[in-house]
Symmetry: C2
Subunit: 456 residues, 2 copies
């Protein structure tokens, strides 16, 4: 699907990915929208070095243990062996917090709200385009606050920013909640996550936000004089989403014909296919250009397919590429001053007057956006089950359901369930009410259901 | 200056740089404006891997010789020694053209116009913030064309895009021209450059555009069936600007008080300083907020300095940070419904009615923009000299002038002049007319003057 749609391909070195223009345009849209939302919250962008002294990572025990197997290490620089190897950032907590320790002096310097858009490298043995690659693009936000409450609330707030973005733009309603201890980020006190359901029923972790407490602050000396004039360690958060979101977008929507991009994130919202031979062609192209200019002026992204080839082939191609609306424009349409608009999601054809396109198309795109979210939500509801027995649990997981079940909260049970069914605790959903129950596996008491699923 | 203005600082590993929010905002502005201009020309963004197999670089002889001393090499990945070391991209010709060789089949696939915004690493022994750092941010455009004429013209066109940007936004008129063979990019047939004059009279290479002919195409197999159905190698270009532009911006403008940012690129265009004690303060802040909201709605970037501290200290700080206009707002101004506007470039104070700010300030900012360009152009004209004798040449270079002089075109003379005076041939300016003359050093014949200067 990714190859046909010309989104990305594998690069020459193991696990690497080349993001082609049509795929990169998705990332540009994601960046543009999220960056605006970050700035509305008061977050500023900065840029920290790619190369981190190995000793920085070694300073936080859990962190280095979590990332050590995935590191790419620079041992040669400028033609010489380096005294201290440099690690390509797998994430930037260590190098950023070292800087923060110099930047922060008193409570007046807080909160410090910084984000960076960057590439990171985590060695990947089983690469898969947009889901797992040795290098990927992401944003990582890193904040410092005066109190634990404020930091924890901020971590939750950023997860909410992400979730809203997924719902409103990607037409994906993720299950949001807290990670179990096993799945927590290396060095975090709490990890919040969004788990999206792919069309095959598997979960995709689509973004995480961590409340770090003062673990890193103690290691890197991020401290400040508080309002009582006492020295205190900063309370921190970090949060990120990556090009993985594109993988989620691809696998959450689409059909046998290929991709379906929600209009609000689609690189091309409307494609115009001019139809006609020889002498007709020039006139059709002229009208196509006129329509395109009007639509672009009204804020839509539009492409005219001027390549040679039969219209039917072009229909297939742009369907595969997930463009929400196709306009077919031939000599008859020119005569009647209309176009045929075809919805990618339903295949429905409508004849629209050319004079009304700048009103009719935004409306149509908005309907498509809503419909894709509706389809997603229906699928999520139909494939989420609540089970109370181990047999029902196994059947549900075999059928790739999102399973809400009781769990005793121990890492041992979690590991055994994973071993036997390949399902993991995706999160302790915020939406699950307190409910006394018994662990699906051990029978031990549980206070609330958690989300189990197979995951990417 | 950079530290006081809080733009950037050195990172922990040698030659690395942390770009702080105020500095990064400049890069965001540069990116946003240039990216739009690239897209107007039909260029699309993509993203290629950071890590390049060493063998790729080895394939082009000049290229590898040019970059070998500056490479950072990854020899360990995922806990194991790599079979083939990976180089962190110093530039991406090799990895991009390898991909292009698969993407391009026939003339219909051309021109291929691709850009990427990325970080690159070139080992740096004498780091200097924004000018020379081991890692820097840039964009690199890489295009393929059917003919040599088209490719060469495109390389020139992109230099023109850059130059216009420098003049219109950065208030810098660079001297544009072609590089001598010695200073040419490793692997290029022609290198076009923009050389900006810094306030000390030294030149800063501010952006380059290369016509690569088919050198790389032959090495990487970038070929296509042309209109005569013959297999042919692609004609290529590459072009880039980097965070070095921020260094240029800092050194081209400014005075004893610190930086002066041209309004069209300034991260903050207007800073409001509320003045007043205790009971007055609340009212002043309320009016400041009202003014700020109105100005932001009219498209300006505005900051209110709400920190504690004396107004005088704040004036100094925001002057040092180069904000084009300061608004002073105190109880008297509230009473008279006016503000005092202070220009950063001239220091001139004007009393403006609060009701007219959304008209008066854009006009004032536009005047500042024009004035900074005028000051730059005057300095450039006053410090550019045309000399005809070796003695005059040496004196002019000692006095840090841009020197237009005849040169015999040989690398030997170029090297000797550099050795004796520290001046290099910055470019063969497009604007220099054909003019018979004798080389300033060797006395041999020359057909046109070239630009000599000391350079960063």
């Amino acid at each position: 699907v990714i190859a046909v749609a010309d989104l990305a391909e594998h690069g020459p070195s193991k696990g690497s990915m080349i993001i082609k223009p049509y795929g990169y345009a998705l990332w540009e849209n994601i960046q543009r929208i999220l960056d605006l939302k970050f700035k509305e919250v008061g977050i500023e962008n900065a840029y920290f070095p790619l190369l981190i002294p190995q000793s920085f990572l070694n300073r936080e025990k859990e962190h280095v243990e979590g990332f050590a197997p995935e590191l790419a290490v620079v041992t040669m620089g400028g033609g010489k062996e380096l005294d201290e190897p440099l690690v390509i950032r797998p994430t930037s907590e260590t190098i950023m917090y070292d800087a923060y320790s110099h930047w922060i002096h008193a409570y007046r310097d807080l909160p410090l709200l910084i984000n960076q858009w960057a590439n990171v490298v985590r060695w990947e043995l089983r690469p898969r385009l947009f889901l797992r690659s040795t290098e990927f693009l992401w944003q990582e936000g890193h904040t410092v606050h005066e109190t634990a409450e404020e930091a924890d609330a901020f971590a939750r707030k950023m997860l909410e920013v992400y979730k809203k973005f997924l719902v409103e733009y990607l037409a994906i309603t993720p299950v949001d909640g807290e990670k179990s201890e096993t799945e927590r980020f290396a060095g975090a006190a709490k990890t919040y996550t969004m788990e999206a359901m792919m069309q095959d029923g598997k979960a995709l972790q689509s973004g995480t936000s961590h409340y770090l407490a003062d673990h890193f602050a103690k290691v890197f000396g991020v401290k400040f004089l508080n309002r009582d004039n006492q020295e205190q360690f900063g309370e921190q958060t970090s949060w990120g989403v990556s090009t993985r979101l594109i993988g989620g977008l691809i696998m959450a929507h689409g059909d046998d014909k290929g991709l379906i991009f929600p209009p609000k994130i689609a690189p091309i919202q409307v494609v115009i296919i001019p139809i006609g031979k020889d002498e007709e062609k020039e006139n059709v192209l002229r009208v196509a250009e006129k329509i395109s200019v009007e639509l672009i002026a009204s804020g839509l992204t539009v492409k005219i397919d001027k390549t040679e080839g039969r219209p039917g082939q072009k229909f297939f191609l742009w369907e595969a590429k997930g463009v929400p609306v196709r306009l077919e424009l031939g000599p008859k349409d020119i005569a009647s001053e209309s176009v045929v608009a075809v919805r990618r999601d339903t295949g429905e054809k409508t004849v629209l007057p050319q004079s009304e396109l700048t009103v009719a198309l935004p409306k149509l795109l908005s309907e498509i956006q809503d419909n894709l979210l509706k389809i997603y939500n229906t699928r999520l509801a139909e494939n989420t089950v609540r089970v109370n027995s181990w047999e029902d649990f196994k059947t549900a997981i075999e059928n790739n359901k999102f399973v809400m079940a009781h769990w005793d909260g121990t890492a041992e049970t979690e590991a055994t369930i994973k071993e036997q069914t390949n399902a993991t605790v995706r999160c302790l959903p915020f939406a699950e009410p307190a409910e006394s129950g018994k662990c699906i596996f051990s029978g031990k008491p549980s206070k609330s259901r958690v989300l189990f699923a197979k995951a990417y």
